[in-house]
Amino acid sequence: MRRISTLPVVAVGLIAFVALVVPWLGLPDPVQIDVPHRLSGPSWDHWLGRDEVGRDILSRLLWGARSSLTVALFSAVIACLVGTTLGVLGGFLGGLVDLATIRLADIVLCFPPLLLALLVVTLLGPGASTLIPVIALVYMPGFVRVAYAGVLGVRHLEYVEAQRALGVGSARIMLRTVLPNISGPVMVQFSLAMASAVVLESGLSFLGLGVVPPAPSWGLMIGAARSTMAQTPLPLLWPCIALTITVLSMNALCDAVRSAVDPHGAVPRRLRWLLPPLPSGLSLAAKGASLAVRDLEVAIDAKDAEVRPVRGVSWEVAPGETLAIVGESGSGKSLSGLAVLGLLPLVARPAAGAALFEGRDLLRLDEPALRHLRGADIAMVFQDPMSSLNPVHRIGTQITEAILVHRSVSRRRAWQEAVELLAKVGIPDAARRARSFPHELSGGMRQRAMIAMAIANRPKLLIADEPTTALDVTIQAQVLELLAGLKAEEGMGVVFITHALPVVAEIADRVMVMYAGEVVEQGPVAEIFARPLHPYTAALLRSAPPEDGSLPQAIPGTVPLPQHLPPGCAFAPRCAHRQAACEATHPALEDVGPDRVTRCLRWRDMSATAQTQQVTA
């Protein structure tokens, strides 16, 4: 939970304090009638004037605060205690208790609150002793629901399951784990209940069915002042203002409690980022490549500082070639791919570099021009097909949208094409499937549908961000075959982002290995796997279980966060070959052969070791 903002707390606190100390403020008697002086305006004795039977308005205002807040507080507390207990018991014990509490809450909710209050008041007569229980009853279901939902949500959490597996008793789990977890939503509900209770009480008093006169209440004062408002509006306005300010403060408190309990991330700025001008000498024609990325840097504006999860990354893809970008979490591989198409999340932005495509720099292109390319010349496939497809549109519609956005063809023609595409990616019964919704398809089919959508306009380049990570192994094999086939047929360039080296070996021509936001090695797949020239690549190759059934070799330590990069080589702390020089200087990328680069000071030593190993094998 985060800190709560102070202003609403102060405001409500002040009001509550005033209400508390009213008896000691030496105010005139709030029920003292003085008809001859009725409706007199403000004066020294009576700062706010007098009401329609001569009572002091300020005094009634402050005493009214006391009665309204008291009723509201007691009602909210009772509703909270009873409601939360019922909800927790129902959620935790299940069965009959569950049914009873939830159904009860539903029935109470069938009555609009004011109505329920009116009904009870009719039967039992007005007054605070009736008001408090009935208002408590009205807001109880809210607590029951919140507590119930909270308990249900927590019950299935793995750490609760772990405690059950350990044999920890139910009561203990409930107290230690469940209650602290629902405390947030319950607090939000409490503040809501209090604010609503104040309004409900004033409404009832306004109708003459709440607090019994002559005891003061704001609602009562407003109701009474109505009859004379044509003559003097002031007696009406004072209680209106008091009530409004109180409710406003309480609502603000509700919002503050809600944000403290459930904070959202920083509000990202939405300006279009302005990159520094391209360095001179950078030829806009990337020789032979479809896409050439140069020195890309992505920045994220964190609270205090700027963090660069992608630094100085350069790569190229030629038509018909597959480049794999390999890295673990924190390597920056996904961000590199998203940056090219301008699809970074709002908190991130490209900070430097260029992405050259057909003579233009994608990073400096204006949005309409970039949109023109997205889904047409350059397409993207994402990791999770369930969340990446719109759940309320049919598959066929989503594919035709991709077509219609870029080409002017008839709807019918576009639909036909969509069906053909679905068949092409291996979805059986394509015409019928096109009318399905995403949730009606399996994971593998959804991913194929996404691929169909991506190739609808015959892109020159396909960027696939971990497209098979969420799929079963056998389905993954199918999808990889599909991609290989499409690539061969269409001559598409493919950028395949993944964390799995074996997948890279199967489908890629060239590979780029990333670690902690930088490129550490790059070159043809066969060469790199046979002769890795960076310790990280070598270690990664060894961390897959070998064929002979022995255990894989671990890399000690963890990937550093971009905020806490070590001086020198980012991999040094975990590297078995590190030397003093590695930790002192940050190595630059070196050309170690035709189309091969590595970022290691000791690559020659690695090369030598590899050769000796090959000789003895």
Partner: protein, 315 residues
């Protein structure tokens, strides 16, 4: 089919509500007939009490009373008013359309104001427009509905004299005045509903905009208006529909205050009058009808939700 199941549940709820209302009246301590007749502080004649008891059917066993009452309700007979011996049902159903009309306009205003502003605020999140809209919305929400109404009467009707202060004219007799009299009450109700819709819409749009399928839509090259309309709104509006339904139900009770302030002879006004007069059959009838409406409204919204979100249909 899930539709049938939902409707079934609604019927059960209504029956439970009716039973509770029935029981509530009979749970009051003392003899109901005597209490009803002694409101004026005068001890009633035993013969009159007996007549009332007979009329209310209090001589029969509780089960018979219950059965008669339920059967009556199914037939549409809600008993007879104590104040003027007129049929409760007739009064209720004369006034019901007026209240519904009022709520309809209020909902319309709320949606027209709340939803587009909410969408705009979400798209310009963090900017000055967002902050202004949210501040105004917060203020509108904080001012209780009867305060808004009273102040509107003061300012618009009494000071500026733009609109009549209240009352009701049937549509057939004078359409212009009919609508003129409805503007302020509807706006008053909207003042508490529009902010809720606005902030719900805003929160929902902000949530949906960060979802993966919106990113996919952008990756397809769709233009921002298209992304917002086809991909964001349809998904974002579903929770808003739910909230609208929830609050319309609450409004059914909330019109009490507004009708009182504007002297609008709707259902809620009838309720307050009969509460003050301790006219139990009338109170029972009105509460029952309103509760039934409430349940029906929730049901309608559930069904609409099913249309909007195909995933629900399967469940």
């Amino acid at each position: 089919m899930w539709v049938v199941r939902r409707i079934g549940v609604a019927f059960v709820l209504v029956w439970i509500v009716a039973s509770i209302v029935f029981l509530a009246i009979r749970m009051v301590p003392g003899d109901p007939a005597e209490i009803m007749l002694s409101q004026g502080g005068v001890s009633p004649d035993a013969a009159i009490i007996a007549e009332l008891r007979d009329q209310l059917g209090l001589e029969k066993s509780i089960w018979v009373q219950y059965r008669d009452s339920m059967r009556g309700m199914l037939k549409g007979d809600l008993g007879v008013s104590l104040t003027d011996q007129a049929s409760v049902a007739r009064q209720v159903f004369t006034r019901l359309p007026r209240t519904l009309e009022l709520i309809g306009f209020a909902a319309l205003f709320s949606v027209l104001f709340g939803v587009p502003l909410g969408v705009l605020a979400a798209l310009r999140r963090g900017g000055w427009l967002d902050r202004v809209v949210m501040a105004l919305s917060g203020l509108s929400l904080a001012v209780p509905v009867f305060v808004v109404g009273t102040l509107l009467v003061l300012v618009v009707a009494q000071w500026l004299e733009w609109l009549p202060a209240g009352g009701y004219t049937p549509l057939a007799r004078d359409p212009a005045r009919h609508f003129a009299q409805m503007v302020m009450p509807a706006l008053t109700i909207a003042s508490s509903l529009a902010p809720v819709l606005l902030s719900m819409t805003r929160a929902s749009v902000i949530d949906v905009i960060t979802r993966d399928h919106v990113r996919t839509a952008r990756a397809k090259g769709a233009s921002p208006p298209r992304v917002v309309l086809r991909h964001v709104l349809r998904n974002a509006l579903m929770p808003v529909v739910t909230v609208l339904a929830l609050h319309l139900g609450t409004l059914l009770g909330g019109t009490v205050l507004v009708e009182y302030v504007f002297n609008y002879p709707g259902l809620s006004g009838l309720l307050v009058d009969s509460v003050n007069a301790r006219d139990y059959p009338m109170v029972q009838g009105v509460v029952l009808v309103i509760s039934v409406l409430f349940v029906a409204l929730n049901l309608a919204m559930d069904l609409i939700y099913g249309v909007l979100d195909p995933r629900v249909r399967r469940a």
